[in-house]
């Protein structure tokens, strides 16, 4: 029950000077702890970044090796593609040349081309026409040229097998 006109003041166990020093120590300690925490955090962050950078470096090294390997493969592929292209161009030119030497009266039904052999299937009105217009041209290109004829309702059917020796082929390549 309250009987006093004034309320008792709250009392502290510590003296004013002690309070001051205690506050100073507590504040200083708090600052030190805060600094320590911040530094610990920064160190941990830096360590983490270093670790991450190391992993990135390793990954990038592996990636570089992989890319280099890919580059080599692509380079080979490119060379191969160029070779195929060259080969195709050569083949196209050869086919054009073959078609160019076929006379109008001779009709081709099938052509078989390999690296050093050309087989022609077709019809010719007469053997003489064939030998006159086509045989000289084939013989000038290929090393051997053998033609066999057979009768058909439209005239003569022929099969011409033309072969090229390796040396001649290489010489031709060199010429091209």
């Amino acid at each position: 029950m309250r009987t006093s006109f004034i309320k008792p003041r709250s009392k502290s166990l510590l003296k004013r000077d002690t309070k001051f020093w205690l506050s100073f120590i507590i504040i200083s300690s708090a600052i030190l702890v805060a600094l320590y925490t911040v530094m610990e955090f920064e160190i941990a962050k830096t360590k983490e970044n270093t670790k991450k950078a190391t992993l990135d470096r390793k990954f990038l090294s592996a990636e570089a090796i992989r890319l280099k390997s890919n580059y080599d493969v692509l380079k080979q592929d490119l060379a191969f593609a160029i070779e195929i292209k060259t080969s195709n161009t050569l083949l196209r030119d050869n086919i054009s040349n073959i078609f160019a030497i076929i006379p109008d009266q001779v009709t081709l039904s099938k052509i078989e081309i390999s690296s050093n052999c050309l087989v022609l299937y077709g019809n010719t009105p007469s053997k003489e026409l064939y030998n006159l217009h086509l045989t000289p041209a084939l013989k000038s290109i290929f090393t051997t040229s053998e033609t066999s004829f057979s009768r058909s309702p439209n005239g003569l059917k022929f099969i011409s097998i033309n072969k090229l020796n390796k040396e001649d082929e290489e010489a031709e390549h060199a010429r091209q």
């Binding site: 309250r2 006093s4 006109f5 004034i6 008792p8 166990l13 003296k15």
Partner: protein, 326 residues
């Protein structure tokens, strides 16, 4: 929480300081975990600066020794009192303006009040010794002291101090009337103290006014034929100071008599008070220097009077302990 645990093991000093004229009672109770472990009581003379300095030193030592201390006292101001009831309307009824006053409700049945100005003055007075924590009304002290003797019939209780007197008419549960008077102003008291000091130094050159002495003698003889005041011994120089004290005391007694009479007149005649018949008078006296007050009042007021010694300082410190701990 931590503070509370530490506080349990810390000692707290409850210092009660009762300044009354040229004396100051200091009562110290040391409590640890709500248990009293020691107590001390000193009475200091405030007649001179040197003697009052001793009191300040004593309290200063205590406040330095004990980190936790509570200083309490009772308010000595004319602008204080008590009224029945706790409602603010009651104060208007008793023509008391509580705008600049502090009001405390006691037991939900009566209130005490004191001027804020006087409360601040009391706070300032104790600033030098560490400030004040509890400021009690003498009416509360009276109630505490006579509480066991009170019953349903009204009792007029008087707290008789050197410089002031408090009257409170109590029943068991309530306060019916209260009044406070200054018997001797502090400044007057200080002057007398200085005068006494001069007498000690320069000898008894300034004798008391003879006419005044004669008048007081006559009054004393009129009131009590078989008085043991020993006025016949006045001629004896060795008992001169004792006689002076007795005369002073008698003067105070007469003032108190007048105060009681005027208070009773006010209580019975003023319609704002519940005028029950007062059956007895109880006097609480911290000094017990004038036992004649009992006969004086009995003869003049015609009521049974009890006269008891009150340990004012002790009660104040007990009230302070309750105020702080409970």
């Amino acid at each position: 929480m931590f503070g509370g645990i530490v506080r349990k093991f810390a000692k707290a000093a409850y210092i009660s300081v009762i300044k009354d004229g040229d004396v100051c009672d200091v009562c110290v109770k040391i409590l640890k975990n709500k248990t009293e472990i020691s107590r001390d009581y000193r009475r200091f003379s405030m007649a001179t600066r040197e003697s009052s300095k001793l009191m300040y030193e004593f309290i200063g030592n205590l406040t330095t020794k004990y980190g936790i201390f509570y200083i309490s006292t009772i308010i000595n101001s004319i602008n204080q009192g008590g009224v029945p009831g706790c409602d603010k309307q009651n104060f208007q009824k008793y023509e008391i303006d509580t705008t600049n006053a502090t009001v405390v409700c006691i037991d939900k049945s009566w209130s005490i009040f004191a001027s804020n100005y006087d409360i601040d003055a009391a706070k300032k007075e104790f600033e030098d010794i560490g400030g004040i924590d509890c400021l009690f009304s003498s009416i509360v002290v009276l109630k505490r002291f006579f509480n066991s003797e009170l019953d349903s019939s009204p009792t007029l209780c008087i707290l008789k101090q050197k410089t002031s007197a408090t009257i409170a008419i109590f029943t068991k549960d309530s306060l019916l009337f209260s009044n406070y008077t200054i018997l001797k102003a502090e400044s007057q008291d200080e002057e007398e103290g200085a005068k006494k000091q001069d007498e000690k130094i320069f000898g008894d050159e300034n004798e008391l006014d003879e006419e005044r002495l004669v008048d007081l003698d006559d009054i004393a003889l009129e009131l009590k034929d078989d008085s043991d005041l020993g006025l016949s011994m006045m001629d004896d120089e060795s008992s001169n100071s004792e006689n002076t004290m007795s005369i002073e005391s008698l003067g105070n007694d007469l003032k108190i008599l007048e105060f009681v009479k005027s208070s009773l007149m006010q209580f019975y005649k003023n319609p704002m008070y519940q005028s029950s018949f007062i059956e007895k008078i109880s006097i609480a006296d911290p000094y017990f220097e004038s036992p004649d007050i009992k006969n004086l009042l009995e003869n003049e007021i015609m009521l049974p009077v009890t006269h008891k010694k009150i340990e004012l300082c002790e009660i104040t410190s007990a009230l302070a302990i309750e105020e702080v701990l409970y």
